[in-house]
Structure formats: C-alpha cells, structure tokens
C-alpha cells in the first residue's frame, strides 16, 4: 500500500513536459519567495514621485506603479504572501478536514449524521461569498485571509476523508489491528490516515491553486493583507483605473497569479493521474 512513496512520481516527471515545466516554475517561485526579496534592487514600498507609471525599462524591469513603486520587487515580495496564504490554508483546512472526516467516517451513526450535516452547511455557501462574509467581520490582514479561506474549504476535505474512511475501515487489516487491541487513535491515525494519504495529497495539490486565487480575490476586494504591503490581488485593484494608460501595472501581477495557479493545477492533475487509481489508464 505504501509503494506510492517508493515510486516517487516527482522523480519521473521527464515523461510529462507540462508537469515538468510546472514543477520547475513552482521551484523557482518558492525560491523567489525565500530569497527573491534580497535580490531585487528596489524597495517594494519606496515611493518615487519622479518615476510615476514608468513603462518597463532598464531601471524598472516591469515598470513602476501609480506612486512610483517598482512593480518587479512588489511582485517578488507578493509571492511570499500568496504562497504563504495558499499553502498554509491548504494545510490548515486539510488538517481540520482530516480530523472531522476520520471521526465521521469511523464512528458512523449519530456522530456521522451530525458532522455530515455540518459539512453540508459549510459546502452550501458559494465559497467566495462566505469568505467575504468572514473577511468582513474580522480586521483585515494575513491571518484573517488565511482563516477565511480555511473556513470555506475544510468541509470539502472533511467529506472526502469521511468517504475514504468509510471504505478503508472495512478492510481486514483494520479489523486485525483492532483485534490485537490497538487504540482508536492508533487505528485512525496510524492505519487509516496513511492509506488515505495519497489521495489527500492529490486533493490538496489540486486545491492550492484555487486557494491562491481566493486570496487574490480577497486582496482585490480589500479584505486581504492591507496596503501598502504588496499582494498580487491588491496591486491589480489599486492600479486598475490606469488599465488603458499603463496596462503593465495590471498585466504583470495578473500574470504572476495566473502562472502560479496554472502550475499548481497542472502539477495537481499530474499527481492525480499518477496516484488516484480511478484515473490510472
């Protein structure tokens, strides 16, 4: 059951050019988030009134925005926020989803009935709308964006884990481990969870891109990390009235979001094709 780890899908990416490209892009992106801010020559917050809305050129590779800030360094700094929110929201909502999904699936009966109803209620909201509602009642910022995204997405993971738990718990090895007196916690987290892990990895990787989009949308709406901190979403919303005269101010941050999300989605699709038995040809 664990051989998916041995035949590591990341080591034979060569067969799949889009997935390989996506992996390279993401590696560069992570590197950018870590060391990029030390490499760019401009301060992302430095206002330079002598160079407002400069088109891309030698001094400012991607141009400057409406108050003269360097767009490249803002995008590089923005990568930190996007990745931090996207990845931590994925881990948080996966974590919450795993716990509740395991409980609902394993204990069944009334526990399952109540928990499943709760999952359904959270899934009944259009996600951005609920995130807006949550974001609006909290002071805007990094943690409230993260929390809003987590709260709108954990239920999807919970339902997935519940379904997997239902089928895994009927396996003989689970019966065997119970028969030798393993505690419930041990059965849940040492036996059921590891067997659900490959599919969870797939589900998680398919969602990261969506979470980054959600973060961008919240920033765009003014509910995410607040200005002057550079986020990709707020860069677009703050500069959108100049779309005609200075399109680079909007185009480049949008490209950064798009390329990032495309890469996560392509890699997610690839992992699903490899790890999800339902998609194996």
């Amino acid at each position: 059951m664990k051989n998916w780890l041995k035949e590591n899908p990341l080591t034979d990416l060569q067969g799949n050019l889009p997935a390989l490209l996506a992996a390279v892009v993401l590696a560069v992106l992570v590197l950018t988030a870590f060391i990029g801010p030390f490499l760019v020559s401009h301060d992302p917050l430095a206002i330079d009134l002598d160079s407002l809305r400069r088109p891309p050129g030698r001094d400012h590779l991607l141009g400057t925005d409406s108050i003269g800030r360097d767009i490249l360094s803002r995008i590089v700094h923005g990568a930190r926020i996007s990745l931090a929110v996207g990845i931590s929201a994925t881990l948080l909502s996966l974590g919450i989803g795993v716990v509740f999904g395991l409980f609902a699936g394993y204990f069944g009966g009334r526990t399952d009935l109540v928990l499943s109803q709760v999952f359904d209620i959270f899934l009944a909201f259009p996600s951005l709308l609920l995130a807006i509602g949550i974001g609006a009642v909290m002071p805007p910022g990094l943690s409230s964006a993260m929390l809003a995204i987590t709260l709108v997405s954990w239920a999807g993971f919970a339902r997935l884990v519940r379904g997997m738990t239902l089928s895994i718990k009927e396996q003989t090895y689970i019966e065997a481990s119970r028969a030798i007196g393993a505690s419930t916690g041990r059965v849940l987290f040492r036996h059921i969870l590891p067997n659900a892990l490959p599919l969870l990895l797939v589900a998680g990787s398919l969602r990261v891109g969506g979470f980054i989009l959600l973060e961008a949308a919240l920033s765009f709406l003014g509910l995410g990390v607040q200005p002057p901190a550079p986020t990709w979403g707020s860069m677009i919303s703050l500069n959108r009235m100049y779309i005609n005269s200075a399109p680079w101010m909007v185009i480049f941050p949008g490209l950064a979001i798009s390329v990032t999300v495309i890469s996560f989605n392509v890699l997610g699709d690839y992992l699903r094709d490899r790890l999800d038995p339902r998609f194996r040809a």
């Binding site: 959270f122 909201f125 259009p126 509602g133 009642v137 909290m138 709406l221 979001i257 798009s258 495309i262």
Partner: protein
C-alpha cells in the same frame, strides 16, 4: 416521484437553518452594536426599540437566534447603514441584472465548453485535444478580475469592438465581455467533464453498434454519444449557475454592472454590514436552491435513477 420531491425539499430545511446559524454568528462577531447595525445608523428610536425587542440582545443566544429567524422569515434583512434603504428591497431590485448576466455566462460556458469537450474527445491526442486542454487549464487558473480587465483592455480599449463597461440600457453588446469573463471558469470545467464523459460514452458498445449500422459519424457523436453523456454536464452547469454570485462580485465590479455583485462590493468598501450579510445569505439560499433543483432534475432526466427503488 412526489415523495422524492417532498423528501428533497424537506432536506433543504436543515441546510437553510444551518446557513442562518452561520450568518447569525457572523453578525454576532461584527464590531459594534448589532441592533444599530441591523437597523442602520439613522434609524428612528421606534425602529431601534422594535428590533431590540425582537432581537432581545439581553436574552440567551438561542432565543436571540429565534428572533433573528423570525425577522428573516418576514424578509427583514435590515437596512443599509448608508442609504437607509431596506436591504431586502435592494437585493430584489438588483437580482434581475445579475440573473441576466449569469444566464448569458452559462450560455457561453455551455456552448463553448461542450463544443470544446466534444472536439477533444473525438480528436483525442491531436493538436485540437491539446489546445482544448490548455484552454481548460487556463480557464480555471486565471483570476476572474484580471481576465475581465485584460479582455476589457484588448476588446474595448484597443480594438474598440465592444463597450468597456456599463449596461448600455440593455443593449446586448454590453453583455458580451462580462458574460465571457464570468463564464470562462465554467467553460473550462464543462469542457473537462464533457471530454471525460464523451470518451466514456464513445467506448460503449451502443456506439459501436450505431457505427456498425452505418450511421454517419456526426449522428453517432451528437445523437448517441452526446445524449448519453449529458447528465453530468447538465449537473455541473446547474451547480455553476448557482455559484455565479461568487464571480459576479468581481465581474460586476470591473464592468460597472449594476447587480448584486457590485452591490456587495459597495457594501464591503463601506463596511455596510447589513448589505454584506444580506448578499451572503441571499447567495447561499440561491446556491442551495439550485442544488435542490439540480438534484430533482437529475432524478427526472435520468430514467435509471427514477426506476431504481428509493432507499
């Protein structure tokens, strides 16, 4: 059939209650006095007293929730903090515009997505297939608001083919860019599902039989394969339509479309909490109602579901 309908609609009730519990707690979490928030800054003392009594802010939470429910049951969503207009009236007034946009978007998404899906399933492994798969990954990955701005830049500001924003008194040209922006995400999903569903249908024996009969390939594809792969596609389209209020917040803002989405954004910008909560609640109810409709139509469309004894 009827008992199924009744059961499905009854199941709708706990979900609706759950939604109101969440919005109730969101209201509780709001900064400031909830009574003032619900009634509006400029509410007269009588209204304040009435809502205070109704809400019973000194009573225990479950009783307060009951009061909130009774307000909702009478369509009382509070008043805007800024315009002092009833949120419920505003919602009903803006809804038709959003619905129009959503229907145009779903039309674009279904026609485009199904065509793309069929082409890539039939011409599997060709350049067309690859192009379609690039489009379908791109469609779910581009931020809606950026896609809208880019389309506006190219088609309205540079090429001047279409108006950049506004509603143009109902002229269809104004609908095109917002509808394409809002529909692209669904188009990508519809294309994916159509491809998968068509490929499965094309491998079925009845397709081989239809071909063996000597039917033209176009008839085989459109009448035999497509018809049988429509169910998941229809389901997806219905669910997407219900969630369009999501994308509408962003799309309407960009194109100056006077619907619920822009109304919500105005509310967010001004921290007009009754407006925000009204749209969130309304959106969730529309979404859930769409879910129920899809379930029912699914039941209705697919004879296999209908014949199966109900559990």
């Amino acid at each position: 059939m009827l008992s199924y309908l009744v059961k499905r609609v009854l199941l709708f009730i706990p979900t609706l209650l759950g939604i109101t519990i969440i919005t109730f707690f969101l209201m509780q979490a709001l900064p400031g006095d909830p009574v003032q928030t619900m009634a509006g800054e400029r509410a007269d003392p009588e209204t304040l007293a009435r809502i205070r009594a109704e809400l019973g802010v000194d009573r225990p939470l479950p009783l307060q929730y009951a009061g909130y429910l009774s307000l909702l049951a009478r369509g009382e969503l509070g008043r805007s903090l800024y315009t002092n207009r009833r949120v419920a009236d505003d919602l009903l007034q803006k809804f038709p515009n959003t619905l129009k946009l959503a229907l145009a978007a779903i039309l674009f998404a279904s026609l485009g997505g199904i065509t793309l899906g069929i082409v890539s399933a039939v011409r599997r492994g060709t350049v067309w297939d690859r192009l379609a798969s690039i489009l379908s990954v791109g469609g779910i990955s581009l931020p809606v608001f950026w896609l809208g701005l880019t389309l506006m830049l190219v088609f309205a500001l540079w090429l001047r083919w279409l108006p950049p924003s506004g509603m143009g008194g109902g002229s269809p040209a104004y609908l095109i860019l917002p509808a394409v922006t809002l529909g692209t995400y669904s188009l990508a999903y519809v294309a994916r599902i159509t491809r998968a569903s068509m490929m499965e249908a094309l491998s079925q024996p009845y397709v081989a039989a239809a071909r063996a009969k000597g039917l033209r390939e176009s008839v085989v594809i459109m009448k035999h394969a497509l018809k049988n792969s429509l169910i998941p596609i229809v389901t997806l389209i219905g669910l997407d339509l219900g969630s369009y209020l999501n994308g509408a917040v962003l799309t309407e803002t960009i194109f100056g479309w006077d619907g619920l989405g822009r109304y919500a954004l105005d509310g967010i910008m001004k921290r007009d909490y009754p407006v925000i909560m009204g749209v969130v609640l309304f959106g969730a109810v529309v979404f859930v109602a769409m879910n129920v409709l899809v379930d029912i139509s699914y039941h209705y469309l697919d004879p296999r579901v209908r014949v199966r004894p109900e559990s």
